[in-house]
Amino acid sequence: MNPSSDMDSRSVQRLHKVLRALPNRQAPKQLTQHVLQTIEQQAHASWWKHAFRRWPRGAQTALISACLIALSVITVWSPWRFSLLHIPLHATDGVTQLTPLLTPLDTIISWQSALLHGLEKVPLHWLISFGSALGTLYLSIILLASLITQRFSHAHTIGRST
């Protein structure tokens, strides 16, 4: 199909001219009102509900510091925690009657060992630190936000009662 066969270039130019001459359509009257309402709602929302970059500087610093401290503590403690997983095999020799009960535990330990052997090439501190950092970040945000919200609501209640 030849696109130019049915409509000549003169018609196309005329159509283009007509379309370009169309004025803008009138926006619904409630558009401005809706936008302003949404902006107002967002402005009154708690600061911790906004994006991290819009948090107060103090809160940002506090959260980052808390994460770094938690990360350091966990990194220092992680070798001690990991040593608990190395259970000597002869430890279960005298308790053969408890084997059915120990089987699930044994399975978990063997799975953990297999997993950890597979990850031997990656420095252990890195793995544990990475996992801990993610968990700590998540917990810190929730804890910090709830503490500050409680404090603000308490202050607000006192202010109203006085």
Binding site: M1, P3, D6, M7, S11, V12, R14, L15, H16, K17, V18, L19, R20, A21, L22, P23, N24, R25, Q26, A27, P28, Q30, L31, T32, H34, V35, T38, I39
Partner: protein, 166 residues
Amino acid sequence: MTAYQDMVFTTAVRLVADTAEAQNISQDVFLRAYVHFTELEHSPTAGGWLKTVARHLALNHLSRYKKRWRLFSEYVNDEEAHQDVDQHAHISDTLGQDLDLQSEHERIEQALTQLPKQERIPLVLFHFEDMSYQDIADTLHCSLGKVKTDIHRGRTKLASLLSHTD
């Protein structure tokens, strides 16, 4: 905001052909503008920025149905595509110059909304947004040939719709 709201709404409604959806898109555009208010407040390109964001959001909205639309569009054969379309339709010399301009404009806008989505979108991007065929093909992730064919079909249908209502 009042200076640009009609322009933003028009950009959105011509692409999505749905007043309610266009209103939601316009609202999103102004909320984004509010976030960048300090940069846009004295910018001479604020209008262009708003128009571009409106176009992107409208196309994003439409892309939800893109796969279905592409599948449909590519399987429609020429015979079906030209059904009920007057191939000899032409644009009247007096179109857009009638005395009752407002009703004339409404008639053209109405005809635009009656076009199938796969023809209306490239046509609107070409004639209203000043995009080239290649830019439209890149934006809609389809071939250059398909864009040209769809725009041509859109023009023919638009001419047909306008000549039928003359």
